[in-house]
């Protein structure tokens, strides 16, 4: 009797392990890149070292420098080259659509400037694989370690935090962090009506509105290794106003979702 029990338990453990690795295999790592010739090769190499089984998809967002050429040399990655610069939102949206057309289970988003160390990324995937959340955000501000951005931006982030606390009754400490992991359900939902301009806070809001679970995990970020941020001082204000407006408009809409079935990319 105990023998059978033991073997069945062992079998269950085996099945779980197989299931775990199979799920892990279907991981797509999405790296949006715009003029990142200095860092992109290193980031890809590091990512490959940390996740040898995952597919890496780099979206070249119409770069003017050698980013595209570097990506084309590398045969081991999926590279999507946009014909013109669509902005971070457009690049992410493209990657999300690629993800949804294939049978991946999880999506991990990394920055191409080396701010997101791939070694920290495994922490983000854990709650996803265990099925605890649909979006996992890596937050700099839970433990306050590593790179913490500038004073002004932190102020903006705090304002966003206040707003999300009021609207969603869910405290997100680092709403602008792009260090995130998504479940398939979350990604496919987001492709329908993606907030193109500065997507991170609105992503959180949209997913919350559709009843998906969001979780934050403390991580450490490093300062960028090269290139310049796409968000300068003036844009920081624009970013804030735009995000506030979008959330307010969405809030006013009361969760009504536009129909997007007429979009033609679904039959690709």
């Amino acid at each position: 009797m105990t023998w059978i029990n033991l073997s069945s338990i062992l079998f269950c453990v085996y099945l779980e392990a197989v299931f775990f690795f199979k799920k892990l295999m279907k991981l797509l790592i999405l790296i949006p890149a715009y003029n990142e010739e200095e860092t992109i090769a290193d980031v890809i190499q590091e990512t490959q070292k940390s996740f040898p089984d995952a597919d890496i998809c780099v979206v070249n967002d119409g770069s003017d420098d050698r980013t595209g050429a570097i990506l084309k040399e590398n045969q081991h990655i999926i590279s999507l080259h946009l014909p013109f610069n669509m902005g971070i939102g457009g690049a992410l949206w493209t990657g999300f659509n690629y993800f949804c057309q294939k049978d991946y289970e999880f999506l991990l988003r990394l920055d191409s400037d080396g701010q997101h160390p791939p070694s920290e990324a495994a922490k983000l995937l854990e709650p996803l694989i265990r099925g605890e959340a649909d979006l996992v955000i890596g937050s700099r501000f839970i433990n306050r370690e590593g790179y913490l951005s500038s004073q002004l931006r932190r102020g903006g982030i705090r304002l966003l935090k206040l707003l999300t606390t009021i609207i969603m009754k869910n405290q997100i400490t680092d709403n602008t962090s792009g260090f995130r992991a998504y479940s398939r359900k979350a990604v496919c939902l987001l492709t329908e009506d993606y907030p193109f301009d500065y997507p991170e806070p609105i992503e959180v809001y949209l997913l919350h509105r559709n009843g998906l679970r969001i979780k934050e995990i403390p991580i450490k970020m490093t300062d960028r290794k090269g290139g310049v941020s796409s968000i300068n001082l003036l844009r920081t204000y624009y970013y804030l106003i735009k995000v506030l407006l979008t959330i307010l408009v969405n809030f006013w809409n009361g969760g009504r979702n536009e129909s997007v079935s007429d979009r033609s990319h679904s039959d690709l």
Partner: protein, 107 residues
């Protein structure tokens, strides 16, 4: 300015506009005689009514108001069209990039 200089000189543009005005006058009189401009009267009547309704004394001002309102609506219309086109262009760019990737992987 030098003294004795005519502040309103008659240059080629003035001559042109005088001739054009006379031409327009003749044309309008001709059309009225042929009874082809009833619509014109109708529009004038409308502007009269519109301006008296709003208490505008100077009727060209009412005309400008109507024009501005129309332009405003037109601009709105254009921004809607442009947003829609941007959406479609983005979808196209996305599709192109994915198809290109698929093409290079098949070779």
């Amino acid at each position: 300015m030098e003294e004795g200089m005519n502040p309103y000189p008659i240059g080629p543009i003035q001559i042109f506009s005088i001739i054009f005005s006379i031409f327009l006058l003749v044309l309008i009189v001709y059309l009225i005689r042929k009874k082809k401009v009833r619509e014109e009267y109708a529009i004038r009547g409308l502007i009269d009514k519109f301006s008296s309704l709003l208490g505008i004394q100077y009727q060209p001002a009412a005309l400008f108001l109507i024009l501005f309102a129309c332009l405003f609506l037109l601009v709105f219309h254009f921004s809607i069209v442009i947003s829609d086109m941007k959406k479609k262009i983005n979808a196209l760019a996305m599709t192109v990039s994915i198809l290109e990737e698929r093409g290079t992987k098949k070779e």
